[in-house]
């Protein structure tokens, strides 16, 4: 077998082999059972005592939300202030200036919501202080907040008739001390020994072989890159993200980064089964997600390995596939695998430039973010999937004339309204955003912004439209990757994507939490012959159909105008 394909298969299997035991471990952590990291307990008690938190106080779903939203507001203000002031703060060896208010607004939201859209370049737009004390800090806490919200839903599914759903701070802190911090440490050590820089030294200068003077950006990169992937954040140290040779030096670090970003989202699917003692249910979810992933992955790998037909016509050989925007040390097959994983999982880090990928690949990446729940981001992937489960239960109930029930609770009008709103919000903010930006390009080409609308697009025609569509899709899905040719460093993109990111983060957390909380309060109906079984493959097919109809089809017209049209023009 070709070594590029075997590398991809190996990476996926390694992820699974690690994710299953990790899922069991995560379930034990949140059930409060014994784990081998129990020596962290005194450390956690110190954190709680310092913060004045009593973890014994159980919260209902509204109190959970209050806690989550309050601490997120604190982080938002903190991040915004630091980014504006970074020029005057310590740890700035390259003397980079503070960010403009609109860039700081966008960047603060972007890292707060686990999106990591970057409208600046790390080499010149951030300092070592903001990279660590803002970005890396938010990498940890935004991932932990998503997982904590998911644990609340786990808890609501588990107990019969209750409004006591555990303590938010407890879930949140334990996610950091028991899961994110220890694993990040191991990953960062692997990175350090593979050449990723770790010291706080600033830029270096040398004279090259040909006699050019070269300045080299570096910094304490390894620690950040570990949690950047483990927490499905994706915001890189350098502008080129994980295509940069210091941020991703070789095939081993590349494999590690790939495994790290898929690890927790897949582990959480298994954790659900272990936590609720319904393993079959988590196999059904895993099956649906994996089939969805393969549906996007196989055409992408195929398209990239076949190369660019326009370049083939020039008589150039593409033995390995399309190379524009890709790195030799990873190769097209692995870059294709990465680009699908990073879009379905909401990481948004890249090891190749998505803007230069084949149109088929671009379509699949967009679909990955449009669906946004095949594995999905840390915690939020399953929360998104949960919405589709509720809708699937309701529709199948109607189809067979049974009361729609899920885990012994009736799903009624109120839950369905919330679920539908959340499901429709995603296409709404993406398509409206793309429509507004298209309008601005046509009707206000000379607007006096940092980048004029007439020069926003790096590519003409359908591909240019795809750049704008991608930007809003990535923002709404809290993904953070981009068709980076887009001139997004100006007030229009900073402000509009800022709001899209906030809506795309918090409503899909509030919705499922509310549904789970409401359901947990309802009368428990024991299973009977009339109950719809949620752990069967029939139900899996049902969820899959709902996802395809709602998420994929609502975007079809926009996709047809963008990458699909480009595909046919290239043939």
């Amino acid at each position: 077998m070709n070594t590029e394909i075997s590398g991809v298969i190996f990476t996926y299997l390694l992820t699974l082999a690690l994710a299953i035991p990790l899922g069991r471990y995560i379930a034990r952590v949140f059930k409060g059972e014994k784990t081998w990291l129990d020596f962290m307990a005194p450390f956690e008690r110190f954190i709680f005592r310092f913060s004045g938190i009593d973890t014994k106080k159980e919260m209902n779903w509204k109190q959970h939300l209050f806690a989550l939203l309050t601490i997120n507001s604190v982080w938002l203000i903190y991040a915004f202030v630091c980014l504006m002031a970074q020029g005057h703060l310590p740890l700035n060896p390259d003397a980079n200036p503070g960010q403009s208010p609109d860039t700081a607004f966008n960047t603060a939201i972007s890292f707060l919501v686990n999106c990591n859209l970057q409208h600046y370049s790390g080499e010149s737009g951030a300092t070592y202080f903001t990279q660590h004390f803002v970005f890396m800090f938010l990498h940890f806490v935004s991932a932990a907040a998503g997982i904590a919200a998911l644990v609340v839903v786990f808890r609501a599914l588990k107990d019969k008739v209750t409004d006591k759903l555990g303590n938010f701070w407890d879930y949140f802190v334990k996610t950091i001390t028991r899961i994110l911090l220890p694993i990040s440490f191991v990953i960062a050590v692997i990175f350090a020994f593979n050449g990723m820089t770790t010291s706080y030294a600033g830029k270096d200068t040398f004279i090259s072989m040909q006699g050019d003077t070269v300045h080299v950006s570096r910094g304490p990169v390894a620690a950040l890159v570990a949690i950047k992937h483990l927490g499905t954040n994706g915001g890189g140290w350098f502008g080129a993200n994980s295509a940069h040779p210091i941020e991703n030096p070789n095939y081993l670090t590349n494999t590690t980064e790939l495994v790290a970003q898929c690890l927790i989202p897949i582990a959480l699917v298994f954790a659900l089964g272990f936590y609720l003692n319904k393993k079959k249910f988590s196999y059904v979810i895993f099956g649906v997600m994996t089939i969805g992933m393969l549906m996007f992955l196989i055409p992408t790998i195929n398209a990239e390995l076949n190369g660019n037909p326009a370049i083939a016509r020039m008589g150039i050989s593409q033995p390995n596939g399309a190379m524009e925007g890709k790195e030799v040390r990873f190769g097209p097959a692995n870059s294709a695998y990465w680009s699908i994983m990073t879009t379905i999982i909401s990481t948004g880090s890249v090891n190749s430039m998505h803007d230069s990928a084949m149109p088929v690949s671009g379509t699949m990446m967009l679909l990955g973010m449009m669906v946004n729940c095949f594995y999905g981001g840390c915690g939020v992937g399953i929360l998104n999937f949960y919405i589709f489960i509720i809708i699937a239960v309701f529709i199948s109930g109607l189809m067979v004339g049974r009361t729609p029930e899920f885990f012994g609770r009736k799903i009624e009008a109120r839950e369905m309204k919330i679920a539908s709103l959340i499901a429709l919000l995603h296409p709404f903010i993406i398509l409206v955003g793309a429509a507004i930006s298209s309008y601005v390009i046509v009707h206000m080409p000379g607007a006096d912004w940092a980048v004029k609308p007439s020069t926003w697009l790096n590519n003409p025609g359908n591909h240019g439209f795809a750049e704008m569509l991608y930007e809003y899709t990535s923002s709404a899905a809290n993904n953070g990757s981009g068709f980076e040719g887009l001139g997004d460093g100006n007030i229009f993109w900073n402000v509009t994507t800022g709001f899209v990111m906030i809506l795309g983060r918090f409503l899909p957390i509030i919705g499922p939490l509310a549904i789970a909380g409401l359901l947990a309060n309802k009368k428990y109906i024991p299973e009977s012959a009339g109950t719809l079984k949620s752990d069967t493959s029939t139900f899996g097919v049902m969820i899959f159909a709902v996802i395809m109809i709602i998420a994929a089809l609502s975007f079809f017209p926009a996709l047809a105008l963008g990458p699909i049209a480009e595909h046919f023009s290239l043939k």
Binding site: E4, G7, I47, F50, A67, I71, V74, S121, F133, F140, I176, S184, V189, A192, F193, G195, T197, T198, S199, D204, F206, S208, M209, Q210, V214, H215, S217, P220, A240, A243, H244, P245, I246, N250, N254, A310, I311, M314, I316, S317, P319, N320, M323, E324, G325, K326, E327, V328, F330, G331, S335, N351, S352, M353, D355, M358, N458, P460, H463, L570
Partner: protein, 188 residues
């Protein structure tokens, strides 16, 4: 409000210290034990640092192996790809120009022998590597200009070809900087 705001503030403070202070300092400590001491591994020639092992640099002279085209002109204080879409007509013209330039400097080479990576820009703009074919196709030019045997340089490229990870995963590659240093060391 007080029930949530005060714990939020204090928890934020202590987590900043742990995740952004203690954790990266511990990693920086571990980094001191690595080959590059955490500063990045450098490559030297005649006792002078001529580059970073991981980062590509610009080679345009005919007597050196050329690396890949770079959208940022190998500026290691910045990075990035061209972000050109595959159907962009201006981009395709650029590729055609690179092909003709390559053919002019490498007489005897046909279009079908040029691997795509030599005429397409990398993702980072700092790609340090070529595929083995990308290096071999330049051997004849370098042998002629340096007055060396083709076999000798082919041998050098083979020596510098790094196999896929553990022999089975991922592509094979050649680090252009290390190869060029070895080339200069040949005629000492």
């Amino acid at each position: 409000m007080k029930t949530y705001l005060l714990p939020s503030l204090k928890l934020t403070l202590i987590l900043i210290v742990i995740t952004a202070g203690i954790y990266p300092l511990a990693i920086a400590g571990v980094g001191k034990l690595t080959p590059g001491h955490g500063d990045g591994e450098t490559v030297s020639y005649k006792g002078r640092v001529v580059g970073y092992a991981l980062e590509g640099q610009k080679f345009t002279k005919d007597e050196y192996f050329w690396g890949r085209p770079s959208a940022v002109d190998y500026n290691a204080a910045g990075s990035g790809g061209s972000n050109k879409g595959p159907s962009n007509p201006d981009y395709l013209k650029d590729v055609e120009k690179r092909i003709q330039d390559f053919l002019k400097h490498n007489p005897g080479v046909t279009r079908a022998q040029i691997p795509a990576e030599l005429v397409t820009a990398s993702g980072s703009g700092l790609d340090p590597d070529l595929s083995p074919a990308g290096a071999q196709v330049q051997v004849a030019r370098i042998a002629k200009i340096r007055g060396l045997q083709i076999a000798e340089i082919t041998q050098l490229v083979n020596e510098h070809t790094e196999k896929p990870m553990w022999g089975v995963f991922g592509p094979a590659k050649v680090n252009v900087l290390k190869l060029n240093v070895a080339l200069d060391e040949l005629k000492k």
